[in-house]
């Protein structure tokens, strides 16, 4: 690993000049264009933008699920762009949690087993107790033996949140966690997400369409056509800054 580049102590996540190009029938398509950003430890940021702006693409790169065409990414002190697929996976195992729009619970596993899965993958002992505790935190311990198809959308997402936090991740990535939920359920889920984020001092990267929701984060990044257009402070504040400032 390149130690000369790890001058970013204190930042949980940092990206430099990220670009992503894909080949399509119409030729090479740039879906992410020279994006830089930095997220401090314990900070929450929201990425907002129109559909097709490149939000999920950026999230996938930051989480190491995909590789950029150009640019570098650090997760904590580790440069994930210098790692191979398995290296990135190992890094994710110890540092990263996910919450998705479509929940992604495994239908053949019960709620408890879904929460246990990341612990088991990490080889943690007493996975069942930890998972049960996590389910208790999201208020679903009595439903632990239920299968996903026996749970409502909001309940499923709460199980997913328990699953994300059970490994005590450094960074939590959430891609439209309320996209499939009605407004009230969405709010309950989001309250839970922020509460656990605060309690565990996790860094949160949240992709959403919902500007109200975005405003609850410390910072909001606005994306358009593969670029970060502008940035505001969250918590219903409103100081704008340029992406260049944000990256420094």
């Amino acid at each position: 690993m390149d130690t000369s580049e790890t001058e970013n102590s204190g930042s949980a996540l940092k990206a430099r000049q990220l670009s992503k190009q894909v080949s399509s029938p119409e030729g090479v398509l740039t879906i992410l264009d020279n994006v830089s950003l930095e997220v401090r430890q314990g900070e929450s940021i929201a990425i907002v933008g129109a559909s097709g702006a490149g939000k999920s693409t950026l999230l996938g790169l930051l989480a190491g699920l995909d590789v950029p065409s150009r640019g570098k990414i650090w997760l904590g002190d580790d440069e994930i762009t210098a790692l191979d697929e398995d290296g990135r996976a190992a890094l994710r195992a110890n540092n990263v949690g996910f919450v998705f729009q479509s929940f992604h619970l495994i239908s053949s596993l019960t709620a408890l087993e879904n929460v246990m899965l990341p612990l088991e993958l990490a080889g943690v002992e007493h996975a069942a107790e930890a998972a049960r505790q996590a389910l208790r935190t999201v208020g679903l311990e009595p439903r632990r033996r239920h299968y996903p198809h026996q749970l409502s959308g909001g309940e499923k997402q709460r199980v997913a949140i328990a699953r994300a936090f059970v490994v005590e991740p450094e960074v939590l990535f959430a891609d439209e966690p309320t996209g499939n939920l009605d407004k009230r359920t969405g709010e309950t889920v989001i309250d839970l997400l922020f509460r656990m984020n605060r309690e565990t001092r996790t860094t949160l990267v949240l992709v959403t369409h919902d500007l109200d929701l975005a405003a609850r984060c410390d910072r909001v990044l606005y994306m358009d056509a593969g670029q970060i257009e502008r940035e505001t402070n969250g918590h219903n504040g409103g100081t704008e800054s340029s992406p260049q400032e944000a990256a420094q």
């Binding site: 996938g60 697929e85 190992a90 994710r92 996910f98 899965l117 993958l121 080889g123």
Partner: protein, 833 residues
């Protein structure tokens, strides 16, 4: 993260257990179990049936080994046998006139020791024409048991006093059957069975008298195998050792056929089950892509995922292998129970071998048919969690199928050790697969034309069928294959079995007449015609001794096959003919034209192989001191179980005619026409009649029991066929559930959705059924003519049953699969994880 071995194992075990509980593995495991059970069950059974048939064959020797000599047999042999843990019994036989008062007749007197027969049973009755029972006893000292024929000739019943040589004996029982009745030349006169203890008092053993001494051995197979070479080492020139391998080719021929049926049944089961495994594995891997992506997202490495998949597969294979072998073992007991009369004596308990076989089978099937899909599943990119359309790179079907084919082919070759059978069946199966695929594709294409024809349900159903083009073809092939096997089983099998049984018809010849002098042939033909006994063919027979092959002295030659050596040292029976007999088939070279005159010889295939003969070789014989040479111009196979006179070596006209020949023929004589045979023997005193009824009934028995076993084994094939159908329904179940729910959400009525699904399934069933009928007809024809050398008749039922069964079965099971979706609220389906 810790990707140590423990994590991998732990993960694999847990995920597997959870999948099992959620019913994700049911089809896969069932298919695997069917394959393993079929294979191990048949392996067990062939072994046991083989042993049972051998035992039957042993009965015709009344022993496992039979040593005969015209000199008294060295008692050392019996000692040797006793030390090896074998039982022995002595039989001494000689012709003698038996007196009862004024009446007398020639009998074959057989003095036996206790224990005779060592294999099989004597059957006796207390009086003439009274009930016949099986017995373990032999006549006690002072007693004699006589065959019905002998008693008829003497005009006595039990209780009569008999005089045999110098001994006075009491006739105590009617001897209705002895297992070694056979047709050896000593046994032409009716039998009188006496106790060995009385032998001396008969004073029949005199220098120069024609006495045959025999020592019978029986015991465990391993003991027999140990003793045989020891005996062979010490054998004197006058002594001759026979084992069950030398017994009637008729029984062996029946055994071969049943062995082929059994192998065929298990082979087809394994192939079918492998197809079901492949289909189930595909579905499993499709359903688990999300899970793999998610696990990667949570930090599972490619290696961890691959290893845990591999481990799961291994565990499944291991469990499938062991449990399947256990089922195979159980089913084999069931089969053995079915055949309890036939197997009779207890057989050695089966060893661990079938478990090994089961494991190897499970591993090859899983490795060949499930591994490629599971390995591919592991390559699902983690980004799939964000982009649902991201699939693993497409599987190279060529490679994956090659793996499966290689695995199963290797396995079958290893088990069956019959390259020709395995390869030809395999080629047939592959051709069937391709043909079904091509035909299915054409049918699906041609359906497009019918779309406008009727109502919405019809249109929706057919539209679905052609939209899912590839899947529809796959389903038609799977259904077609399953149905085809079922049809083949239900119709063609019975046909084949019947034809097989008919190859030994009710009126198969049961009397052999030998020693007919050339000048008697015409008179005898007239005699038989007069009594309405079907005028038979008289076949000439010349005794000869082989002297040279290709000019090389046979006494100096070494033969690869020990049997060949025996043939070369023995007197041969030669015959000649201008035309090939109906029960013979030329398999190499060319048979001469009817008008041909020259020195050619046609050789029975196995016999030729044992002697190491090839086409163009010259064989020389010594006939009555003269040398005769002929060229091998063709090889034949012979249906030994037709019971017509047949010869290993048949010459063309123009060689053997000058030599002294006798003629032989075979007749079918009804039970009531037995006096005609006696009449015949009175008119032609030099002619010898040999009664084949005993051998015939033995062969019939073997056939019946083997047929029963084969039918039982076909149950596995049936199960495998059903599994394929099941896997095919399961394969598109998720998609269908989802679609029906969507349609209903958009406002389609239950009836309409049901109608659409019904149309689609019934159409698939119809197409699959048509293909199945065609396939079954073709397969039945090929099997009958090529493999079993039987005639085949096309069946109309089969052509009706295929499409009907297809529509019904596929329609019903397809409807059952979608029924719940349609009757339940659509929302329960649309609610995904």
């Amino acid at each position: 993260m810790k990707t140590d071995a423990r994590t991998t194992v732990w993960l694999a075990v847990k995920l597997l257990a959870r999948d099992w509980r959620a019913g994700e593995l049911t089809v896969l495991v069932t298919a695997l179990l069917v394959a393993v059970t079929a294979l191990t069950g048949v392996a067990f059974l062939t072994d046991r049936v083989g042993q049972a048939v051998e035992m039957r064959a042993a009965e015709s020797l009344a022993a496992d080994l039979r040593l005969s000599s015209n000199q008294p047999i060295d008692p050392d042999y019996a000692g040797l046998a006793a030390r090896s843990g074998l039982e022995t019994a002595r039989v001494t036989s000689m012709p003698s006139v038996v007196f009862s008062g004024e009446a007398n007749t020639l009998a074959a007197v057989r003095a036996v020791t206790a224990g005779y027969p060592l294999r099989g049973y004597l059957k006796t009755s207390n009086r003439l024409l009274s009930d016949v029972t099986q017995t373990d006893e032999v006549p006690g000292p002072g007693e004699a048991w006589a065959s019905t024929r002998l008693m008829a000739r003497l005009g006595v019943d039990t209780g009569a006093a008999l005089e045999v040589g110098g001994a006075q004996l009491t006739l105590t029982r009617v001897l209705d059957f002895r297992p070694d009745e056979g047709w050896s030349f000593v046994d032409l006169a009716p039998t009188l069975l006496i106790n060995d203890a009385d032998l001396e008092s008969t004073q029949l053993i005199q220098p120069g008298s024609r006495v045959s001494h025999q020592l019978l051995f029986a015991g465990s197979r391993s003991a027999v195998d140990r003793l045989k070479p020891l005996l062979q080492e010490q054998l004197k020139d006058s002594e001759n050792l026979r084992d069950i391998g030398d017994t009637s080719p008729q029984i062996r021929s029946s055994m071969d056929r049943s062995g082929r049926f059994l192998n065929l049944a298990s082979l087809v089961s394994v192939l079918l089950a492998a197809v079901a495994v492949a289909m189930a594995a595909r579905r499993y891997s499709h359903r688990h892509r999300d899970r793999i992506a998610l696990m990667k997202c949570m930090g599972a490495s490619q290696r961890l995922i691959f290893r845990s998949s591999l481990l799961q597969l291994l565990m499944l294979a291991l469990a499938g292998g062991v449990i399947g072998a256990f089922f195979g073992y159980l089913s084999q007991w069931g089969l053995a129970w079915l055949m309890r009369d036939f197997i009779g004596q207890a057989l050695p308990a089966p060893g661990l071998q079938p478990v090994v076989l089961g494991l190897v089978t499970a591993l090859s099937i899983m490795g060949g048919f499930a591994l490629p899909d599971l390995a591919q599943m592991g390559k699902t990119p983690p980004l799939r969690v964000l982009r649902q359309d991201l699939d693993p790179p497409p599987l190279r079907y060529g490679i994956s199928w090659l793996a499966g084919v290689a695995a199963v082919l290797g396995l079958l070759l290893w088990i069956m050790r019959d390259t020709r059978l395995v390869l030809s069946i395999f080629a047939g199966a592959s051709a069937t697969f391709v043909a079904l695929g091509a035909a299915g594709w054409l049918l699906v294409k041609s359906l497009r034309g019918f779309r406008g024809a009727a109502g919405i349900a019809w249109r929706y159903g057919l539209a679905n069928l052609s939209r899912r083009g590839k899947e529809s073809v796959a389903q038609i092939v799977a259904f077609g294959l399953g149905l085809m096997v079922l049809l083949l089983l239900s119709t063609v099998r019975t046909q084949l079995m019947d034809t097989w049984r008919q190859s030994l018809p009710e009126n198969a010849p049961n009397q052999f007449l030998i020693n007919i002098q050339p000048h008697e042939v015409d008179a005898m033909a007239a005699f038989l015609a007069e009594r309405q006994i079907e005028a038979p063919a008289f076949v000439p027979l010349v005794r000869a001794r082989m002297t040279a092959i290709n000019g090389e002295d046979v006494t100096q030659m070494t033969f690869e096959d020990p049997q060949g050596e025996r043939w070369a040292r023995r007197d041969s029976n030669l015959s000649w003919t201008s035309t090939l007999q109906a029960d013979n088939r030329v398999v190499g070279g060319e048979f001469w034209q009817p008008e041909f005159i020259g020195s050619e010889v046609s050789v029975e295939q196995d016999f030729g192989q044992e002697l190491g003969l090839s086409l163009g070789d010259s064989v020389a014989f010594d006939i009555a001191g003269e040398n005769v040479t002929a060229t091998v111009t063709s090889f034949r196979t012979v249906e030994w179980d037709s019971f017509s006179p047949n010869f290993f070596m048949v010459f063309s006209p123009g060689v053997l005619e000058p030599f002294p020949a006798t003629y032989i023929t075979s007749l079918y004589v009804e039970e009531s026409g037995r006096d005609a045979v006696l009449d015949l023997m009175r008119n032609f005193p030099s002619v010898t009649a040999i009664d084949l009824d005993a051998v015939l009934s033995q062969v019939r028995d073997v056939m019946d029991k083997a047929a029963l076993a084969v039918q039982a084994v076909f149950i596995f094939t049936l199960l495998a066929g059903v599994t394929v159908l099941w896997a095919a329904v399961q394969a598109t179940r998720d998609e269908r559930r989802y679609e029906s729910a969507m349609l209903r959400t958009f406002g389609a009525s239950k009836k309409r959705v049901l109608g659409g699904a019904a149309t689609e399934f019934v159409a698939i069933g119809l197409l699959a059924g048509l293909l199945a009928s065609a396939g079954a007809t073709l397969a039945g024809y090929l099997l009958a003519t090529r493999l079993f050398e039987l005639d085949y008749t096309v069946s109309v039922t089969l052509w009706l049953a295929g499409p009907l069964a297809g529509m019904l079965f596929v329609g019903v099971s397809g409807m059952a699969a979608t029924w719940r979706v349609i009757t339940h609220a659509p929302v329960s389906v649309l609610r995904t994880a």
